[in-house]
Symmetry: C2
Subunit: 582 residues, 2 copies
């Protein structure tokens, strides 16, 4: 079979104007960005408000291996399958981060015959949304350090006299707004900024700082959760970046930088329209990393897509404990639109990896032996799939299992897995999905089963209400959600919780950051663990995004590059074409 | 008069397809990016190779105040003036950096009725070229720290066995590739990266590092000086990022990251086409900061423009000691195309600031008193203009002085300045330029004089040849160029010079970084100083860009934000329009 980039390059694409018109957008409701991309204007939503709202299908997965189980392949493949059945459909996915593209995982355009095209444009800069988030985020960071410097250099009175501004008296030890970069760069996790040559004070005040990957920026969550530009602007102004010397929160509005941040994100709020290899309109918006971020595509993209088409297929990152949980508890409660059906992507490889019978270590290559028939391992790993089916049903969302077929998979094991699912008491539907090898033709059975599930009455219920206390909400996700026996908070987290309550921040959602490689907070525990403890080491206020961000276990918000990063394969050929991207 | 952004918004623009066709580009030679921007394909150059090459006009200036003297206004105004005379013309300018946009200076689209439009798109992300430079630059930085970490964690042998790669043995104390960010962020000038929690080694090895502003990245110079994509790829591979434990240079090619960097810059190599308020085609390419970088627009943009039109108007940043010097000594020697005429922008305000009769401090507001009539100050400051006229003539380039008129300027002083110029022995032409208030109609006289000067025989000669020794080249710029009495090198710079010679890097250009606020390296010395010393504190190898970068005096490669940054004025109004940008 050809490589992803060769398949993509050999497939004739339609001009984006045709895709836009097929999607139901009018001229003037989008602006072409080159031949195959367009920014969709939010003005379209005004016209579409009167239209019926289509069904929302949320693709999730079992607990994945570090290479992923093909969730985007299945999302795109399923959308193409629905289109094959002559129903109108739009896919909504997140913009890939350059971190994984250049790091381990490679691109995130899907693969094989189920890709968003041109995949190299999707996987690199696209229309610059992540860059805009990065720029706006780091502008606020520069504003904070500059303000501390100018206020403290000659004292607050001097600053006020000189500038005509009121001193904010930021406590340099309590700046909570880090910097961001869209790369896997472990050396930036913990840095000291503001060094000076001895005896000089020209670079500001030295303080501990760090960089997160851009997808984990609060601004990315704001982009995903905003309903319009006004909402975006208001949320940005609510961001708390530091505390002052009296312990009071300091916001971007206080820094007078919120307007400029919104200006910098003015274009990013418009989803990007592209197409799949079979011409299905696809909206790309917001960022990935459902482990360390909200990590779902945007409410705006969903709102446009569900008005334009009968079916919208979107995805939540990693397993159903990660992106799906946040899509249900955070995104759906903000948007008011619950998923009508969930698709759980499972692979033979991924389930065997969940058996606990293989010695898999994060950061190490996945052994080929995972592709060899091993019914014991499959049967043991099936517990993980069962867990995710139950998890989805907890929210009142009907589930369909999509077995994402790899070329090396044995027919016998595929049948075995199918039967295991069919033998479950929940009457859960299952289909083998061959989107990778066959495109939409390989997902028709899946599409039919998913569409049928969408017909039922929606019984959606999130695990918590925003009005509950923060502890209750954290417990809801960890215990009712993950199935943990208990949660514990570090002393730091306890103090932060008390502070947040004091400042009145107790009506927000909660967003848990943890490893995606286990349902628990320990990436080495596979399968369907129980009796574990969720340890929360730190809480962060994201008042603009509207949630309290809880760091669990040893999760890190800036990935690192491996020994042999994916970037080593990338280059331009003699004709200027990109090679080595997958 | 209306604000810049209101003038821009009230002016009807042509679709970029019409501008492209007016410029002489064929369909397929550009890709629209929204209604008013397009990326121009390098394929156009192949077709245009046979066409005549038009005249290249380089706009420079007197020694400016920190707010600038209106060089872009004059560049755009002059291009519009030439168009008014029914001659074909293209303007080529650099992409503004967000640092100044959000910092002190504001936007860089020109102003009044001589602007590139839409100015908010130019001044913010444009088509993402600076973001691509930033991303590619920081990818290499991440690659370096990751490699050091993986090689040293368990020793070189273990690394080689594990990865199948040859250890590069980078000396962590001799990494010369810093990180970059497109913001004014003084706290990032000197940082420590790779901190760890006590007893852990998961974030790499602690080392001193720093951030430059993105425009000062070697990649930005490579973007400006490359002649095609292949040249760009090759130059990127030549970048020396560090030295190994044997003191040998380590390149991006050694890191196997050069291909990925080129991939990341694949779209950035295409200039962006926009229009002036009067519909003159304008190419935007490469970055600003002719003080701390090469800082001229690109060879590719010039090559396209001079083939498309009779006249190309471009600009070099700051005074003629800065961008103009680098355009002549670096860019013209690489491209083989010398400027046919130089325009020196002078203002009454700027000349009075150069008189030495005002107590102006960098970073402080310019006093209104500079706009009051003061013939003594004007006459004293005129020495600075004389210096720049002589400087331009040194290169064999004919000069025309453009007096950029401000609304507050007195008729009497404008006449006095005109007469002062006309009384010079060099027969230099002078015109009052009213591009700001009147657009092209205000620059017709200037246009006529400039076009006439372009008719003469080109007697261009750079100040040095690449084959000379590095010392000779540095002396040529400092002494023959700036008029310094001597140059001195710090011990560090002397050592670096010896190292560079040892490694065979002695056939490169030299790129001096110094304050733009004086012809000398001391920003407080105004006018036309002589007898000064140029102190070179550090030399940096830019083997990919093709020059040795010399840091003079106390110049800094990352600006800072002032007390009241420009971002405080920026916001979105109720209709989502940007306000406060100028």
């Amino acid at each position: 079979m050809l490589s992803d980039i060769d398949i993509c390059r050999n497939t004739p694409l339609s001009p984006i104007t045709e895709i836009a018109s097929k999607a139901g957008l009018l001229e003037g409701e989008y602006a072409s960005q080159g031949k195959f991309k367009a920014k969709v204007s939010l003005a379209s939503l005004k016209r579409l408000k009167q239209c019926d709202t289509g069904k929302l299908i949320l693709v999730t997965a079992i607990t994945p291996t570090p290479l992923g189980e093909g969730k985007t392949v299945t999302t795109i493949g399923l959308a193409q399958g629905i289109a094959k059945l002559n129903r109108s459909v739009t896919a909504c996915i997140r913009q890939p981060s350059m971190g994984p593209v250049f790091g381990v995982k490679g691109g995130a355009a899907g693969g094989g015959y189920s890709q968003v095209a041109p995949m190299e444009e999707l996987n690199l800069h696209l229309t610059g949304d992540i860059h805009a988030v990065t720029a706006a985020h780091n502008l606020a960071a520069a504003a904070i350090d500059a303000r501390i410097y100018h206020e403290q250099r000659n004292g607050y009175d001097d600053f006020e006299a000189r500038s005509g501004l009121t001193a904010l008296r930021i406590d340099a030890k309590r700046v909570i707004w880090k910097r961001v970069m869209d790369h896997n760069d472990r050396a930036l996790r913990m840095v000291t900024v503001g060094h000076n040559e001895p005896g000089k004070l020209i670079n500001g005040y030295e303080r501990e700082d760090g960089f997160d990957i851009s997808a984990a920026s609060e601004l990315m969550a704001i982009l995903a959760l905003s309903t319009d530009l006004k909402d975006l602007r208001q949320r940005i102004g609510n961001i708390v970046v530091a505390y002052n010397t009296d312990g009071k929160p300091v916001t971007t509005e206080d820094l007078q930088v919120a307007g400029a941040m919104a200006v910098s994100m003015k274009e990013a709020i418009e989803p990007t329209l592209m197409q799949t290899l079979e011409g299905v309109p696809t909206l790309i918006h917001a960022g990935p990393f459902a482990n360390i971020a909200h990590g779902n595509s945007s409410i705006i993209a969903d709102n446009i897509a569900t008005k334009l088409s009968e079916f919208t297929v979107t995805e939540g990152g990693f397993g159903s404990d990660m992106g799906f949980e946040k899509a249900c508890n955070i995104k759906a409660q903000v948007s008011g639109k619950a998923p009508d059906c969930a698709v759980i992507v499972a692979t033979l490889r991924g389930l065997k990896a969940n058996s606990g019978l293989y010695d898999l270590k994060p950061g190490q290559a996945i052994p080929d032996s995972l592709f060899e028939p091993d019914p014991n391992a499959l049967s043991a790993g099936f517990e993980n799939l069962k867990w995710h089916i139950n998890n989805v049903n907890k929210y009142g969302v009907p589930a369909v299992v999509a077995i994402n077929r790899f070329p090396q998979d044995s027919e016998q094991e595929l049948q075995m897995l199918k039967e295991l699912v069919e033998s479950l008491p929940n009457n859960v539907e299952v289909a083998i999905s061959e989107g990778f090898a066959k495109g939409g033709a390989g997902t028709v059975e899946l599409a039919e089963k998913v569409m049928a599930q969408c017909e039922g009455q929606n019984r959606f219920a999130p695990l918590y209400q925003f009005e509950q206390t923060t502890e209750e909400k954290l417990m809801a996700v960890a215990e009712a959600g993950y199935g943990a026996a208990s949660i514990t908070l570090s002393n730091k987290a306890k103090q932060q919780l008390a502070d947040l309550k004091n400042h009145g921040y107790d009506q927000l959602a909660v967003c848990l950051a943890k490893t995606p490689l286990s349902i628990s907070t320990d990436g080495s525990i596979k399968g369907a663990p129980s009796g574990f403890e969720v340890h929360i080491r730190e809480l962060k206020l994201c008042a603009g995004a509207g949630f309290i961000y809880a760091l669990c276990g040893n999760v890190m918000t800036m990935p690192g590059l491996p020994d042999r990063p994916a970037f080593m394969n990338l280059d331009l050929d003699d004709h200027g074409n990109i090679i080595g991207l997958s």
